[in-house]
Symmetry: C2
């Protein structure tokens, strides 16, 4: 590797810089471009080292490390999931991530990923739907109107062509806030009084609720033929959103079966229940939707490759925009074996100052 | 948990701040205090969640994530090991770490750990030697005089009472640099022309070489009765420093057997070869050294609990010293479910500016 200048300085994208980046690029363009990078990485799925995420569970939540590598770049995300955090005015999910150079092990980027995760999850959902939903899908029911909801809505508008949105949340103020946030963004939005009302006539149903429990956001009779279900909220052991009967009627697509069988909706099914891998659809190896009446289900739990794509995309953007700061994260003595000498020179410098 | 102010801001200790912290506290005091925290954590070893490190190997090196938790705090270190990096003017090992609150999943500290790892490795080595070396040990051979060497020397001075140091490295300029860096620090230092010369009369032998290969830094006839060996450099599969016969003559102490059997000197031995766990010695459950003539060996590979201790120690120090900066790492909307609204408010703010 050729020497780089300022080896010790790692570009850092703060929350403020991430927001500026998203706004500069435009939210929908950001989602479209990110979706293209995710598709690119899913097409070369087999190039990735797919380590299962490393989870530290506690009574209140989980802290996870999600690493992956394509042999050139290495990425990982730190992410927590603490459903009760909202009670204390905290985010349920916060995240940050690192992208590194495999050849040297040096980090190339540190970035906030709370906002970025919401964007990549939405882009991923919409990528799946573009391959699985009926091509004439224009109406989406969005059940669970928390922190992810607007991102899901705009991703489905930009990537799938959704025009009509039907919102439902146990907490009506959440739906109202979501509708307000989306006003003027080109979607026709209706707040519904029941999940039943929201799904009537919907081509796509997105479930993205947050409670950590076995819940039944959707029951079997609510899902008509031809629907695509984007199940985002059921994403850890003990947390599901769909009635088991829906799963039995659906063609199920997943990111990475060993992880989804533990964390996804299909934790309700036997370990041998057939599922299809989304990357094979994207790579053109297997068919996605096979008929207008089929029910397709993307049992999304979030996988490290998606974060890798997001990190890669952000890295490609910060060079031009300058929306980052340099972080003095790595000790970089002039003579690599002389770490201690660096300390002594610092002492001299401080004394001289 | 009571609300904290500026939840989104994570204290960050840069390389520069870490150096200032070490110099402010004083290197030897820092090592002594850090050793006390390590001992404290080793005494409550059973309280820790001991996940094996997550390693991503590549032809040139490895990138590892080392997480652990005591149920209250969660820590992890990112660390690379790339022996060929020095050729390109890069560090063999660079590292940074995070300490988080288990109850909320929120990070509490981000810090450089390249310097901190050298300090914690040295403190750990010296803690082990205090429990395993003969109490009258005053002379240490230090074989391998790279980036870790001065830290090892000062830790053994401060914690074990070593007064005389005998240096050897394949590269004589490394030994000379080490001797020069240590001048005036209260150690009597001699540069030797062979490892044989360095170990003559040494009470403690520390091996800390860097090449990733099966090497024989020490052969069997070089180790006399009563010696304590602190084997630091053999720390990954395919990288050992000691002749197998030395291992067979020694009482072997390790941090965490499942990891050391893969990464340590004992990868040369059968999977059932008896080893003792250092934490049990520190906790007073088993004996360390049992006679003046026994050869004791600390087969050190570095374990996540030591990094946890180091993170905990640094966190305890930054409050008083102010040697940190605030990092805008976490999105923290006023209303936790309204992440998107935070983006909209940012847009308004930017337009108004």
């Amino acid at each position: 590797m050729a020497p780089r200048p300022n080896l010790n300085i790692v570009p850092f994208v703060s929350v403020e810089h991430m927001m500026q980046l998203v706004l500069d690029v435009g939210i929908e363009t950001f989602l479209l471009e990110l979706a293209a990078v995710i598709e690119e990485d899913f097409r070369r799925w087999e190039a990735f080292d797919k380590t299962p995420r490393v989870a530290a569970h506690s009574p209140d939540g989980v802290i996870e490390l999600m690493p992956t590598s394509d042999g050139q770049l290495y990425g990982f995300k730190y992410v927590n999931g603490h459903p009760k955090n909202t009670r204390d005015g905290l985010q349920t999910v916060t995240a940050f991530g690192i992208l590194s150079d495999v050849a040297s092990g040096y980090p190339l980027l540190l970035t906030e990923m709370t906002i970025l995760t919401a964007l990549r999850t939405a882009a991923m959902s919409a990528v799946a739907a573009r391959h699985l939903a009926r091509t004439d899908s224009r109406t989406m029911a969005l059940i669970g109107n928390g922190a992810q909801s607007e991102f899901q809505a705009l991703a489905f508008k930009a990537i799938v062509g959704i025009e009509n949105l039907r919102l439902y949340d146990l907490d009506p103020t959440a739906s109202e806030r979501c509708a307000r946030n989306l006003s003027g963004m080109g979607l026709s939005v209706k707040v519904c009084r029941s999940s039943q009302g929201a799904v009537e006539g919907a081509d796509v149903i997105t479930t993205v609720t947050a409670d950590k429990q076995y819940a039944t956001i959707l029951s079997d009779n609510m899902v008509g033929p031809g629907t695509h279900i984007n199940a985002v909220g059921g994403d850890c052991p003990g947390k599901t959103e769909l009635h088991r009967d829906i799963l039995l009627r659906s063609e199920i697509f997943v990111e990475y079966p060993p992880q989804t069988r533990i964390e996804g909706e299909i934790q309700q099914l036997g370990p041998d229940h057939p599922v299809k891998e989304l990357w094979e659809v994207i790579a053109g190896r297997i068919e996605g939707r096979r008929s207008e009446r089929e029910i397709t289900l993307f049992d999304s739990v979030g996988f490290a490759v998606e974060d890798f794509s997001a990190l890669r995309y952000v890295r490609s953007k910060i060079g031009v925009t300058g929306l980052h700061q340099g972080l003095d994260l790595l000790a970089d003595p002039d003579e690599p074996r002389d770490l201690f000498g660096m300390l002594l020179r610092c002492e001299k410098r401080l004394k001289a100052a």
